[in-house]
């Protein structure tokens, strides 16, 4: 087995350096995460539009929602997102807009719009009162459903109510898109002059996960029994084998909480073994196993 290095919580916390960057191991414990531009409108008495570079945390697909995490010392954005009925826009900059991202990573004086400094063009959104970033290929228009103060950050749960896209990106293939936007925040490092430099990444390689018969026809989320039915329908299982497996499954469910039952132990082994044979495509082994257990 590969040699492992273990770290305690104190050791993880100590990876934070004084210069504002972390030890490389700290970044290796984190996944690079999509970095978008968060647009908010200043609440009165403020009178501007504010942009920040921020990372996302996925939440739900339907409704489509995610959280954005704002440092509590960023009072302007905390105020904007905490207001009742708060709205925001999440815009995805491209790999060619890294200076713009760096500029929006700084906090301009209240009322000054970072988009103007970064030469990013804003445009009217259709579903929220906060502008979108026309210079960015993709914008998500969101409402804030809930905010939670958590340690050092305000966690804002935002629900997407609309979106827009630069039509020149519409027909690009997935592999092309992911190498253009979004960029993922990777780390902050000290450059040769001692300045903090942010590094971002783009995705490159894409791999398909296994599909039927090694997985359900639906892909995911379907019931185990339907998968077995699909295998029977496509002749990977005979009718007798199908009945046998479903019988095990029924009995397993009945005995699930009977932890002392010897039959439960046997069923667990059988269901584990046949599942392993199927996902690994060991069909000959599967058939001989089922035949042997049926005889037993």
């Amino acid at each position: 087995m590969t040699s492992k290095r273990f770290l305690s919580a104190d050791e993880i916390d100590s990876l934070q350096r004084a210069e504002g960057v972390m030890d490389p191991i700290a970044y290796s414990l984190r996944a690079p995460m999509a970095q978008l531009l968060l647009v908010t409108r200043d609440v009165p008495p403020g009178d501007g539009v504010c942009l920040r570079a921020t990372t996302l945390c996925p939440l739900t697909w339907s409704p489509y929602s995610q959280s954005v995490n704002i440092p509590l010392d960023d009072e302007r954005v905390v105020r904007n997102l905490s207001a009742p009925g708060a709205e925001c826009v999440l815009a995805a900059p491209t790999r060619d807009q890294l200076r713009e991202v760096a500029i929006c990573g700084q906090r301009a004086p209240d009322g000054i719009c970072e988009a103007d400094i970064a030469r990013l063009k804003l445009c009217k959104s259709l579903h929220v009162d906060v502008p979108s970033v026309d210079s960015c290929p993709m914008n998500l228009e969101c409402v804030v459903d809930h905010v939670e103060r958590y340690h050092t950050h305000l966690i804002a749960f935002t629900r997407v109510v609309g979106g827009s896209i630069d039509d020149s990106y519409l027909c690009k293939e997935r592999q092309q898109i992911i190498s253009i936007f979004p960029t993922n925040f990777v780390d902050d490092v000290l450059d040769s002059k001692g300045n903090v430099r942010r590094r971002v990444s783009v995705l490159w390689d894409v791999y398909p996960c296994p599909e039927f018969p090694y997985a359900q026809k639906s892909g995911w989320g379907d019931d185990f029994n339907n998968w077995m039915r699909d295998l029977r329908d496509e002749s990977y299982l005979s009718d007798a084998e199908y009945d046998l497996v479903l019988g095990w499954r029924r009995r397993w469910d009945e005995l699930y909480l009977h932890l002392d039952s010897p039959e439960r132990v046997v069923l667990k082994t059988r269901l584990t073994d046949i599942s392993r044979f199927i996902v690994q495509g060991r069909w000959a082994k599967l058939h001989s196993y089922l035949a042997e257990t049926a005889r037993a």
């Binding site: 996944a31 340690h151 979106g163 590094r199």
Partner: protein, 292 residues
Amino acid sequence: MGRLFYSIEELLGKPTFPGIKDPTLVYYHFRPARPANLLVTRDPDTGELNLASGTYGPLTDRPYTICLHLHSSPHSARNLSAIGTECVVALPGRDLIRETWIPALSLPRGISEAEVAELALLPSKVVSIPGIAECPVNLECRVEFLKELYGRTIAVFLRVVGASIDEEMVARDRLGVIAQYPTYEVDDATNVWGGSIERLGVNGELLDCPSFPACAKRGFSTDTAAWLADLRAEGYLSDPEFTRLNGWIRDYAAASGESRAALREQLTDALRLAAWEEWDHLHAHLGAARGE
């Protein structure tokens, strides 16, 4: 170039466009890829381990916390329903595509997805739940906060109380690390049965953002005052120019009406010229404002 706007109903309905064959292509343009994880939990009723595939996101750095989003019904949501419950979040690499997918299959409750995927368990040091030996990073976690979302999903805030990393990854440079793990849920292609084929991606390129003088020496999340001080310290701004710019900021904060609008434009222009490193124009702008 034009911009197409969609309502959320149109987006979730997976909009198509003439000439586009893949019915999910446009939809996934609006869904940034998110890091995949394997989640190890323990069934409170039987003590059996459960392994689930999912995605997660970051919350805070210090303490190190992360957020999972779990559908209310599957096993792992039930297993993490109490504050203080322990779990391990493992980050799979590009060599574990099949193994990452297997726990997403709906195996009967109690059947070990790790055994089916032929993944080895790694004893943890801080929590009672094991990690996954083949994963380069394992995060040992405790549940700190739970919130039900829209009746179907639970957001689970986890505090990382321990971690392990492959020694081999410690020695690699950053690109070598991020090109290996984690994998990302990129999209679902459509298979011949109308179902989905999940596709996982991996980072492949590392890009530098501009640093000082385009922004403050301390980088992101710094305010304008610190940046201007850096510019003066390194000779990009003279002392009078620095004083003038700070004066504009003070005056702008106190101004209202037309004078505020004029100061906003004047100040924005100056900051823009500095951020784009157009020094001659900046000096001229600051000089012109003084009447030079």
